[in-house]
């Protein structure tokens, strides 16, 4: 196999440029053999090396006193008090999910779970951020069905609740859906595991499933543009085995309770190769692996295949010497493979042997530090100016179309396919602003939300980047959580195009500013570039996953109206910001103008105020305003509470602006009248804008008596029926 001659074509097939190949030759001081070429190609792929994004990622804020581990490990770690840590990360599985939605999405969930339990955490919550093409695109229904079933199929079986997410439909995802999965886990702060290998002579151990020829070159696939014939790249799809994953979680956690593990790393993209290189590189040591000892599922596997296989449900560990037998007994109890496949060396090289011969020998440094880094040229998106967004005469229809349209309709059809209650700690289920999961056995809880508004990011990447971070912060705040840190999944088009790179840089700058202003650092993340089909890119989609903590989970707010006769207050002020809104897109059918601007100081001020009300037990009903504006939020609160509302708007803004504007930093709360006056007074003292909008009650949502009046029945049916009827329509 290694006598295959390295030709320029072969180099190109491996996704390497001529210049990159030259770089490999000079790093190695010789030509690579076939196995080595394969290894360089995955290690230097966009997916593993972050060659287009690294330069900019370095500028993101990653520190805070509560950050235990920022980016660079398998997942980020934050201190949540009492000696406990939350460990979390989000990751994309876009390309595989487009090719095979069920398995693509399922293995995406499996991969992100491993990133989290690798660090010693028990996974306690899964989230999923999904973007599909237009509803009437011929592929959409099939993709939605498969992705949702795959996420559920994996998460339900493993027994980790899938507690929330987000789902958008837009034409820019027609040929390139996004499937971003996030896992949050819990660990004790003194029991966190890292991937840096240490100790020359220590055994390198392989555990989990056997290696097959699955997904060879998945990492390079995730680093190239899609063309029509990508659908032929089928054998790269992997099949997930959630049952084995469940066993692997239990076995790893059982071993982690001992002191046998020095370092541990899951085998993700580029499998055995990237995990061993990463462990060696972090530890500044060499690895010698005997590939004959790798547990194999298929016959006659070559070193090339074993090194590049992306078979799922596998982990690599470095153990303390002498602990092999004890560790092996644990894995055998869980009926998993366990094999010592090598040891740590002081050579600084990754040395591979097979059949008694050395089949690869590469300096670890050259695989990691020498990987190319590009400062690709970029061009910022031009300002689109202020949009002039029309009013419609039939307000009622507009509201029904919006609330009962693809981007606001209830996602119940999705979350009812996910076990969102297993583990017995889900105290806020999907359907609210943030999911809330109790920290098992304590009063504390984690609040989790994923958000991004790609329309805004496309219109103005900087503002969109800010808004994505701010929206997760706001959603966590709206349930009463203190937002602590975020993870992200940066989904963009082809970075070799200046305007795409401009979107990337702009979004990152916005994210960074928002993180700094909100004390809300980035602790982990993932970049997915080349999300393009035939040269047309997706909208920039930097999905943000935020995590916050609640000290007393009995003080929690939910969105549903609880009693008739309560006063509805709006915290924050509505401005005429209709550009790039959902109203403009779905009702008017245009996408122009600048998006709403996030005033980060105001965001913080209003949010801190809301949170203090919830923490004090002053309010238990709260909803932030986002897509669809005021009327969408009121509708949500009324539908979920089955209680109507009547509100009165003053005439500072045209009605359609007051109802549909997506001005940021706003919340709605509902409280008893006497409490409301106290809150108004408190807000005025603090210089916070507050408006008394009206009261809950009745069986309709009405505005200024007659301008708008929609019965709860109509609203509910529009909101609840869109998804099921869309999915049940025959293709």
């Amino acid at each position: 196999m290694n006598d295959i001659k390295i030709t320029p074509e072969l180099v190109k097939e491996h996704g390497l440029t001529e210049a990159e190949y030259e770089r490999i030759v000079s790093a190695m001081g010789r030509e690579p053999n076939y196995t080595e070429l394969g290894i360089y190609s995955v290690m230097w792929s966009e997916h593993c090396s972050y060659k287009s994004s690294r330069f900019h990622l370095k500028k993101l804020p990653t520190e805070a006193p509560w950050v235990i581990q920022g980016p660079g490990e398998n997942a980020g770690v934050i201190d949540i008090g009492d000696g406990q840590a939350a460990i979390f990360k989000m990751e994309s599985h876009n390309h595989p999910s487009y090719i095979e939605p069920y398995q693509g999405a399922a293995t995406g969930v499996g991969g992100i779970l491993r990133d989290v339990f690798t660090m010693g955490a028990r996974p306690v919550a899964n989230m999923n951020a999904l973007r599909f093409g237009e509803p009437d695109h011929p592929k959409t229904r099939h993709l939605v069905a498969g992705v949702v079933e795959g996420i559920g199929g994996y998460g339900n079986c493993v027994g980790v609740p899938t507690v929330g997410g987000e789902t958008n439909f837009d034409a820019s995802y027609n040929g390139n859906i996004l499937v971003n999965a996030m896992t949050v886990g819990l660990a004790d702060t003194d029991k966190i595991f890292y991937c840096a290998a240490a100790g020359v002579g220590n055994p390198v151990v392989y555990v989990g499933s056997k290696t097959g020829r699955d997904g060879i070159h998945g990492a390079t696939m995730a680093s190239t543009e899609f063309t029509e014939d990508s659908e032929e790249k089928r054998p790269t799809v992997q099949v997930g085995d959630p049952f084995t994953e469940k066993l692997l979680i239990e076995a790893c956690l059982e071993l982690m309770a001992t002191d046998a593990i020095i370092a541990i790393q899951d085998m993700g993209a580029a499998g055995l190769t990237s995990s061993s290189v990463e462990m060696a590189s972090k530890g500044g040591v060499g690895f010698e692996l005997n590939l004959d000892n790798v547990p194999q599922r298929e016959e006659n596997m070559t070193p090339y295949e074993m090194c590049l296989s992306e078979s799922q449900e596998r982990m690599l560990m470095v153990l303390k010497p002498g602990r092999e037998e004890m560790a092996k007994a644990i894995f055998e109890k869980w009926e998993l493979d366990f094999a010592v496949i090598g040891e740590i060396t002081d050579t600084g090289n990754l040395t591979l042997t097979f059949g008694g011969e050395v089949v690869g020998d590469m300096p670890i440094n050259s695989l990691v530090e020498d990987a190319p880094e590009y400062e690709r040229p970029y061009e910022y998106t031009e300002n689109r100016g202020k949009a002039d967004v029309a009013a419609l005469s039939d307000l009622k229809q507009a509201v029904l179309d919006l609330v009962g349209g693809p981007n606001l309709a209830s996602r119940r059809w999705i979350w009812e396919q996910y076990d969102h209650m297993v583990m017995g700690d889900t105290i806020q289920r999907p359907g609210g602003d943030a999911a809330v999961v109790r920290v098992h056995g304590t009063e504390k809880a984690l609040a989790i939300s994923t958000d991004v508004t790609p329309r805004y990011c496309y219109a103005n990447p900087y503002e969109g980047g800010k808004q994505a971070v701010a929206e997760t912060w706001r959603n966590i705040t709206a349930v009463g959580g203190k937002p602590l840190a975020i993870t992200n999944c940066l989904n963009f088009g082809n970075p070799e195009r200046k305007e795409i790179m401009g979107q990337f840089v702009g979004c990152l700058e916005g994210m960074g500013d928002a993180c700094r202003a909100l004390d809300y650092p980035i602790v982990s993340g993932n970049v997915s570039l080349y999300n393009e089909t035939n040269g047309s890119g997706i909208m920039p989609t930097p999905a943000i996953g935020g995590v916050g903590v609640m000290k007393n989970s009995e003080r929690m707010a939910t969105i549903h109206f609880k009693n008739a006769g309560q006063t509805i207050l709006m915290i924050g002020e509505t401005k005429d910001e209709l550009g790039a809104t959902l109203y403009q897109k779905e009702i008017i059918g245009e996408q122009t103008g600048e998006p709403p601007v996030v005033d980060l100081d105001l965001e913080r001020k209003n949010g801190d105020f809301i949170r203090s009300l919830i923490e004090n037990g002053d309010i238990d009903t709260c909803h932030d305003l986002s897509d669809g504006g005021l009327i969408a939020a009121i509708s949500d609160m009324a539908i979920t509470g089955n209680i109507g509302a009547s509100i009165t708007l003053d005439d500072t803004l045209p009605v359609h602006a007051a109802l549909f504007s997506e001005t940021q930093a706003r919340y709605l709360i509902a409280v008893d009248a006497d409490k409301a006056s106290q809150i108004i007074a408190k807000a005025s003292n603090a210089g916070i804008a507050v408006t008394n909008l009206g009261a809950t009650g009745g069986d309709s949502v009405s505005v200024n008596d007659n301008i708008l009046n929609i019965s709860l029945t109509e609203l509910k049916s529009a909101h609840e029926s869109w998804f099921p009827s869309f999915m049940n329509t025959a293709e």
């Binding site: 493993v158 996910y418 076990d419 209650m421 017995g424 105290i427």
Partner: protein, 220 residues
């Protein structure tokens, strides 16, 4: 009340069951691994929900043949109360301790939501704290909860009061909307809904508690 929770590879509601049992009975249950051939004497045996063996081949099929189940069957026959939830129910039908079989949901989708159940038999040791016909809210979370039995069996179990709970709406295609079934002697109950998930207001309600307190009362 001393209880045991049986753990199969892939069980994932074993902890939830143990937490509920401890909260309600005040005694920490013993966790029993599927490979054990014997375990300490207990008053109550619970088979938890989850995906034992990944639900591969047929839900509950592989667990039903595990070593520990031989002992569980023996004890059930000797009168020890045995309670299977979700996957536990599937295991019980696969062992033959309960009649019928659980097939793929008619809509072929996993379904996770709160559902209203009707208490069809409030006379059993598992249900005495409910009233006959009471409507209770308990969540379901399953892919294979579509209860099937042949007509003769159905007639028998409905005639003998062996139907413990039924769904108030058709959620999975179950015959007669059956949600939970007792054995002839009344000491084995299997049900698809998860009462152990409804034991405190923070989780959405407490309607599941009475099931456990019923057993406590029955055992004295």
């Amino acid at each position: 009340m001393k209880s045991a929770v049986i753990v199969f590879p892939g069980s994932n509601c074993d902890r939830d069951m143990a937490v509920a049992l401890e909260k309600i009975t005040g005694v920490k249950p013993t966790m029993v691994w599927h490979g054990e051939s014997d375990f300490e004497k207990v008053d109550f045996i619970a088979l938890p929900g989850g995906f034992s063996y990944g639900d591969y081949l047929r839900c509950g099929a592989m667990s039903a043949r595990s070593t520990v189940m031989k002992e569980v069957i023996k004890r059930a026959e000797a009168g020890v109360p045995v309670f299977g939830v979700c996957n536990g129910f599937q295991v019980l039908t696969e062992t033959g301790l309960l009649p019928g079989a659980l097939m793929r949901n008619a809509a072929l989708k996993f379904v996770c939501k709160d559902i209203t159940l009707k208490v069809e038999n409030a006379d059993s040791m598992f249900t005495s704290e409910y009233s006959q016909g009471q409507a209770i809210t308990i969540p379901v979370a399953h892919h294979d909860g579509n209860y099937f039995a042949d007509d003769e069996t159905l007639n028998r179990i409905s005639g003998e009061g062996q139907i413990a709970f039924s769904y108030s709406e058709d959620i999975n295609g179950s015959q007669q909307q059956i949600a939970g079934v007792l054995n002839g002697k009344g000491n084995v109950l299997g049900m698809m809904p998860h009462p152990e998930r409804m034991i405190e207001p923070a989780l959405g309600g407490s309607d599941g508690r009475a099931l456990f307190t019923s057993v406590m009362n029955a055992l004295g």
